[in-house]
Amino acid sequence: MAEQGRIELDLSETATEAVLRLSGVLSVRTVSPLRDRLSALNFDRPLVVDLASVERIDTAGAWLLAELEARATANGASLALRNAGDTTMQLLDNVRQARPQREERPPAPRGVRALLDQTGRAVVGTAGYFADLTGFLGLFLARLARLLRHPSQFRLTALVAHCEDVGLRAVPIVALMSFLIGVVLAFQGSEQLRQFGAEVFVVDLIAISVLRELGILLTAIIVAGRTASAFTAAIGSMKMREEIDAMRTLGLDPAVMLFVPRILALLLMLPILGLIADFMGLFGGALMAWLELGISPSMFVTRLIEGTGVGHLFVGLVKAPAFALIIGVVGCHAGMQVKGNAESLGRMTSGAVVAAIFAVILADALFSVFFAKVGI
């Protein structure tokens, strides 16, 4: 097959000219060895390339001839082609015309300056990101206030649909996760507390840690993973296909149409999910305490009511709206940052999840410090 072609060359020099006879296939498969063998050529007299026995020549072959020609010209010699067919000449013409004019790119800065430059840009970028998020939160609140004054513009159907998506569909995973967390806490706690004969305090341990921290925090993390990515992907793909621009030209406000129903759904659903998580966590803990420590369910409930104030539940659930706002704003904002290609959609989606989870944990830490200071 011609594809596996080979190339032979034969150089004969006379006093007035050098004749290079090529035979075989001059193609992308043979151009590499041929160039190596031609590199020794010195252009001290006119060069004639005879193509009579070349079976086939492709762009790569023509490129090599054009390069040879350029080298000959640069060395003050001339190059002539002999026995070249019409198509070869046309191909060679095309290649000659297309020979790229090398352009230098402006050099990239290096060293300390580049490092400072990058650091500065990163800092400004991060600050800008937080400013953007705040702006987005403001936009949401402003639109929400406007909708309170003009309830007819409110999209109830969208809100219900998002509530189902964000809330109802997340119930199984949230319930299972917090049940298991309750089980783990009871199991680990009983191991430690048994050494002091203080098994019964496992109830307090479970109740306080689940109600105050773990129930809502882990729910928020799961929702951040599930919902922030879904918001970014949905809004991002609308942005990509210019649906958002189409909305604007039709006089529809994307904030009202897209952001408010989504973030509001999260605001309504996250406390409910948190409550379910609290309940399931206590249930898992009670089950394990019963099996492992012999604390009967009725004793667990009595101890729970006596030992743990309802304030712990309040402290946990009061964080839910804040987490919901963070997740919703980060997810919607990332969706609006998607550019016109699928790559940026993927990057923004994973970025939104990471940012939302990080922000939720950061907010939780701030809440902890705040509650400790005010002594709740």
Partner: protein, 267 residues
Amino acid sequence: MSGAVTPAEREAVIRVRGLKNQFGNHVVHEDLDLDVYRGEILGVVGGSGTGKSVLLRTITGLQTPAAGEIEVFGVDVLARGAGRDSLDDRWGVMFQDGALFSSLTVRENIEVPMKAVPGLAPDIRRELADLKISMVGLPYLAGDLYPSELSGGMRKRAGLARALALDPEIVFLDEPTAGLDPIGAAAFDTLIRNLSQSLGLTVFLVTHDLDTLYAICDRIAVLSERRVLVTGSLDDMLEVDDPWVREYFHGPRARAAFADSEAGRGD
């Protein structure tokens, strides 16, 4: 343009017989026959939804048909094995939006097929990629850009450059001029014509662009009623007695394009 050679004397590089394509209950092609001859530029036209792109995908083996046989260079596309694999070097496909690999620069995209060539030195590969970039009319610095940084027309050109990287014998072009401005589209037509002549390319071209049909296609195949209704030169098309074909080639846009190309020939 088609020359004096009659189709019977020419070598059919693509042979499609009795092709049937079906999506669920929706039959796209039924009993479709098509020949593409070496060195010609075949334009495939048809209304939206007549399965032009599906035909292209079927011939290149991206879509398995429900029935029928497809041979390219006498090799059964639907079979597996070494013979089928050798086809990958001998054809190139330009997809509608270029289908460049988004994580690679334009130059790296064009180098991808070249990396399969044994013994090709990396610096030559780079030079050849630069040459292809310039041959399809992209500026030199475009080689360093990523596909997302290119305009639609540039992506098409880069896609063509990648399809042509190994000088294949057949190129499949899916709507090469769609979405280009008239100047860019005309330049693309000239480019395809030039490359086809100088490289002896066979071109299978799916298009809606009447100017492209008039300017560069040797033969036209009309897809309608789930099969290739008619093939032939432009002059043949003007005489076909089918409502859709008449509408297509006698419509106001067709007349304008035809007038242009007549004027062009007169020069």
